[in-house]
């Protein structure tokens, strides 16, 4: 289960605040995954006191709304990433960035598909730079794209371009995963699927033996 409480002293009208919170949640908490199980209790409550003395925000289409939205996005993304980082049994955070779609929602959908893939997660835990699993998870996301536009990078290692696998330093890429896991760092997976301007991100973690152990023995 994920829970969140967000507070601000900005002054904002109710309907605008609710829309802003929804946008921020879709860019953060709704883009994380640990194990693919959606809880019965997931909740984010966001409260705005209005006590800062800032001008009232009554429209989404103003500079003030953009400023508050950016802060809200940042706080929620910071918290969301920390949940994925702390995933049960995880040794690293996985950050998936997808570019080249027409809409942010399409990019986000592909990114989450990759971050959710048990095979990708297990490969990262096994320190296996398995670009095929990444490509497959992008392909079944439910977003159409041209396979010959697919580009995949793992950290600094380019694994696929124009839909073609590239020769790469397998030991180096494996070592990147190993070193990142040793310090509980962030593995980055960058994907491009076309020429669109949209970008989306998702965050997950690797899948280890400990995940099963924790949940086989869980009581509270």
């Amino acid at each position: 289960t994920m829970l969140g409480v967000i507070t601000t002293d900005a002054l904002v009208e109710s309907d605008i605040w609710r829309k802003m919170v929804k946008v921020a949640v879709n860019r953060s908490f709704n883009q994380i995954t640990v194990d693919g199980d959606t809880s019965t209790n997931d909740t984010v409550i966001a409260l705005a006191s209005g006590l800062s003395g800032s001008p009232s925000i009554s429209s989404l289409n103003c500079k003030e709304a953009a400023q508050l939205q950016a802060c809200l996005d940042a706080v929620m993304q910071g918290l969301a990433k920390s949940i994925a980082w702390d995933g049960e049994g995880a040794t690293c955070l996985i950050e998936v960035t997808v570019k080249g779609t027409e809409t942010e929602a399409e990019a986000a959908k592909i990114a989450r598909s990759v971050a959710s893939s048990s095979l990708v997660k297990a490969a990262v835990y096994g320190r296996d730079p398995n670009w095929g699993r990444i490509a497959a998870a992008a392909g079944y996301a439910g977003v159409s794209f041209q396979m010959d536009k697919l580009k995949i990078s793992l950290g600094e290692f380019s694994l696929m371009e124009s839909g073609q696998p590239l020769p790469f330093d397998r030991d180096g890429a494996s070592n990147y995963l190993k070193k990142t896991g040793e310090v509980h760092g962030t593995v980055t997976i960058d994907i491009s699927v076309g020429d669109g301007a949209a970008i989306g991100k998702a965050w997950g973690c690797d899948l280890s033996y400990d995940y099963v152990k924790i949940n086989a023995e869980y009581t509270s």
Binding site: T1, V34, S39, D86, S220
Partner: protein
Amino acid sequence: VATTVEEASGNIPAAPISLPQGSWKQIAGGVTAAKGFKAAGMYAGLRAAGKKPDLALVTCDVEAVAAGVFTTNVVAAAPVVYCKKVLETSKTARAVLINAGQANAATGDAGYQDMLDCVGSIATLLKVKPEEVLIESTGVIGQRIKKEELLHALPTLVNSRSDSVEEADSAAVAITTTDLVSKSVAVESQVGGIKIRVGGMAKGSGMIHPNMA
């Protein structure tokens, strides 16, 4: 901006929080960083084992404009059903009460009544209307909350509230379950040339694949 793991109040460390780049600065504190908010976290004996804090409260000195997003799981916990219902008619809230240990999900009418009893009690203590109190629960699915222990702890919880960083940290620890770190962060920026703050806390480690609306 990345911070190192630091010790939070309570008995688990604080998470390293990695924020995207932007025109804000990270500041100390979490849910109490913004003006008007107080928090508290304490051990109320709700967990099956251990003495980690398990009951948290966030309050606002004024009626705060409230928004909520909730799981779209059809089998929604009693607090989710309640909060959705309240926020359909109410635009503001004064408090959020959170317990760890039992999720109060799939607990039927009895679980819902447990939650209403908690809402009524905390509303009386805070001298606010029940519909100004929102609830979150986390823990074992299918188990009702330990209502007697929770109700017994509420006066202490209310009296422990403060706007300090320490109480924000305590609250962040108190909402955790299998989490190895607590999650809390705050930023300061400007809106219309005026300094504003946004803070927050979260929990989660397993059963994580949110689809909230």
